[in-house]
């Protein structure tokens, strides 16, 4: 497995822990939602940054109140076909204002990178080394896109309107 953050392969400084077993004394932990619910105070007492992992069936609504306590949210793709986390990522970024690391975990493959990036993910646990090495290519396959992106890249519709922009505010309601 390779870890890609902000487009580059790098060392992962985070450690996943499960629902069972002792918590390691040191390190930045990513805990599942159930563990967070079970030992919340113990986790909050630690000095290290804290991350939480949500299964695709766990709505981010469930951590909304506590979002400020997490430096990282990992969203799991149990299989690449399960696309719930794309919507969850957008909710976290666009509605809940989460600014920390948003990590794609699980069945994360080359052909999903671009979609994930465009939904607000900025870190990836990549299963195949060859996929991780070609990460930049995945994001450059398209130079144009029909939908507005959360990172502010203009959609085709916005590009078409640029000639009008100086004279009129786009999207303003009368």
């Amino acid at each position: 497995m390779q870890y890609v953050k902000h487009g580059k392969i790098c060392a992962d400084e985070w450690l996943h822990v499960g629902n069972e077993g002792d918590l390691p004394g040191q390190g930045n932990l990513i805990v599942p939602l159930a563990r967070w619910a079970a030992v919340r105070d113990e986790l909050l007492a630690r000095k290290n940054p804290l991350g939480i992992k949500l299964a695709s069936s766990e709505a981010p609504e469930r951590i909304r109140e506590d979002l400020g306590r997490f430096d990282l949210v990992a969203l799991e793709f149990p299989v690449f076909r399960d696309g719930r986390a794309y919507s969850h990522a957008r909710l976290l970024r666009e509605q809940y204002g989460f600014k920390g690391e948003l990590r794609a975990a699980g069945n994360v493959l080359y052909d999903q990178f671009s979609f994930m990036h465009r939904c607000g993910f900025d870190a990836y646990e990549v299963q195949k080394d060859s996929d991780a090495q070609r990460f930049a290519k995945a994001l450059s396959e398209f130079t144009v896109r029909y939908q507005p992106d959360p990172d502010g890249s203009p959609s085709i519709m916005e590009l078409r309107l640029q000639p009008y922009r100086n004279v009129k505010t786009v999207g303003a309601r009368p």
Partner: protein
């Protein structure tokens, strides 16, 4: 029609390159078949019983002559000289090779076409009324919103891995020819009290093993808000649609389980966050796209020119074709011509490369260089001068394309069935062919009148059997093909699901059973203009049941 600008061109060109890379990775073993599957599916490429099948997107069913020539050339070069028009206004090739696929897509891109999202669990090609722009009762041309939605849905980053496929249909007329109530989202163009055009959204319709008529979720969404509203619906579905059971994964199941009121509440909650944002469709963009669908340069003509009336009186075969295949146009002196792809005994929706070239030439000559594909697997020339009808009819006839049976008993929808499809339980095409041959006598067909027979080879209902006036569903009973008959279904503005008549019939007996149903109708109709559906709705299925099963 819509023409690509430099951005659309860049998008499809990059898409071809992306798919070329995906195919190369599959061929060199880097991708497993399981990993490649969703990628090829998103590009309309299925692995069928005998070969790959490629489904080409025809957005809202509109084609230029140039595009149809290209599709014919592809059929010649990469397939076996024919192609199949589908119930979703698409075109399918049944015998392409995986290695050729990138080149086929590049050829399509050269005429502004692609195969994107014609399968897979994503937003599929958007379908529309084949009479768009020319129907007298139209509120607004549905292709405008269709094109806006097509662009928005193309490689949508959030909605490319939905619980299940997602189909959108649009009509601009209150008279529904696009079966919008049988779609995941159906849109009707309507006017509000202020006179502005907008979208009435219906949600949760579908066929398959659980047929459901869609429910109205919003009776007026302004055009500028249509994308944010659609995005809100899709987001609720993507998050909450069932993923534990493929047969319960369509949006209709979610809407039924939580109720339209709750579904609407959640949609509005999402909509509130994204409305008036980056998805707002600016007036300039609406105007830009609307301009592509401006009416062609019509001449000032009179209705029913003398030469037409003369030929109609002189040639009964021409008169029969006028009666069934030609529809009224909103402009005086023009007509809508439907070209039947249902010759007696033929395969519904199939066309040879030579026929496609001929149709493309005729569209160029007689209908402003453009044609439409209908969801009933026929073709439409939307803008034909009435004074050209006779010449057009003769030219179509020379190519085997003048069968006067639109809307009649032999104008059958059928899925590919067990002859091609990996999912089918039974054959569909030969059943359609045998019914068509049984009723080959066109005088008898015209006497029977409006009748829609729809045949599916399995419960997935690609042949729309639930909404056939007579629906036929192929089932497998211990390895033997049987056919269940339903009556009274309809896909129009008064949509209804057909009712099962009784025990299924064998392959040998099903045509006799259909004939018996039709004879029963002829006996019970109150007047010749009480059509089959009206009669079934009046009497219910009892008389038909009696006729079919009492003697057994």
């Amino acid at each position: 029609m819509y023409r690509y600008d430099e951005f659309d061109h860049a998008f499809v060109t990059e898409r071809v390159a992306q798919f070329r890379d995906q195919v190369a990775r599959r061929l060199n073993g880097e991708l497993t078949e399981e990993e490649f599957r969703p990628l090829r599916l998103m590009n309309g490429l299925y692995l069928q019983l005998h070969a790959y099948m490629l489904r080409v997107a025809i957005p809202y069913g509109v084609l230029s002559s140039r595009q149809l020539h290209k599709l014919a050339d592809i059929a010649t070069r990469y397939d076996r000289g024919y192609a199949h028009f589908t119930t979703r206004q698409n075109l399918q090739y049944n015998w392409p090779r995986l290695e050729d696929m990138p080149d086929i897509l590049a050829e399509m891109a050269s005429v502004e076409m692609h195969a994107l999202q014609t399968s897979g669990n994503c937003i599929r090609n958007i379908t529309a009324d084949q009479y768009a722009g020319v129907a007298a009762d139209e509120v607004e041309d549905p292709r405008i919103c269709g094109e806006i939605l097509r662009q928005w849905s193309s490689l949508h980053p959030e909605f490319s891995f939905l619980p299940r496929k997602f189909k959108i249909a649009i009509t601009g007329s209150p008279r529904d020819r696009a079966a919008i109530k049988l779609h995941d989202i159906g849109i009707v163009m309507v006017r509000n009290e202020a006179g502005g055009a907008g979208c009435e959204f219906w949600v949760g319709g579908g066929q398959g093993r659980t047929p459901v008529i869609a429910k109205c979720i919003n009776s007026f969404v302004p055009k500028r808000d249509m994308l944010s509203y659609a995005e809100a619906i899709l987001r609720v579905y993507n998050m909450h649609g069932r993923r534990d059971n493929i047969y319960k994964a369509r949006i209709k199941i979610l809407v039924n389980e939580i109720g339209i009121k709750e579904f609407s509440r959640q949609t509005n909650e999402q909509w509130a966050h994204i409305r008036d944002g980056a998805l707002d469709v600016p007036a300039e963009e609406i105007a830009r796209i609307t301009a592509y669908f401006a009416p062609p340069a019509y001449e000032q003509l009179q209705n029913e020119p003398a030469a037409l009336l003369q030929m109609r009186a002189a040639d009964p075969a021409f008169a029969a074709w006028l009666r069934s295949n030609v529809a009224a146009h909103k402009i005086p002196g023009y007509a809508i011509v439907n070209i039947s792809l249902k010759p007696i005994g033929g395969i519904p929706g199939d066309a040879t490369d030579a026929q496609m070239h001929a149709v493309a030439d005729l569209a160029e000559r007689y209908s402003f260089d453009e044609l439409r594909v209908t969801h009933e697997q026929n073709l439409t020339f939307a803008d034909v001068r009435q004074s050209d009808l006779y010449d057009l009819w003769r030219a179509l006839g020379k190519n085997g394309l003048a069968t006067p049976n639109i809307g009649l008993v032999s104008d059958i929808i059928a899925c590919p069935g067990l002859d091609y499809c990996a999912l089918a339980n039974a054959r569909s095409i030969p059943v359609a062919q045998r019914i068509s041959e049984r009723f080959a006598d066109l005088k008898r067909q015209h006497d029977i009148g409006d009748l829609k027979i729809k045949i599916s080879g399995c419960i997935n209902a690609c042949g729309h059997h639930h909404v056939g006036h007579i629906g036929i569903l192929g089932v497998d009973k211990k390895g033997v093909e049987f056919y269940q008959i339903t009556l009274g279904g309809s896909a129009d503005e008064n949509a209804s699901i057909g009712e099962i008549l009784g025990a299924a019939f064998s392959y040998d007996d099903v045509v006799d059973a259909v004939e018996k149903v039709i004879e029963t109708y002829l006996n019970i109709r109150t007047r010749p203009d009480e059509n089959f559906l009206a009669a079934v709705r009046r009497t219910g299925i009892a008389p038909f049941k009696e006729a079919l099963y009492a003697v057994r």
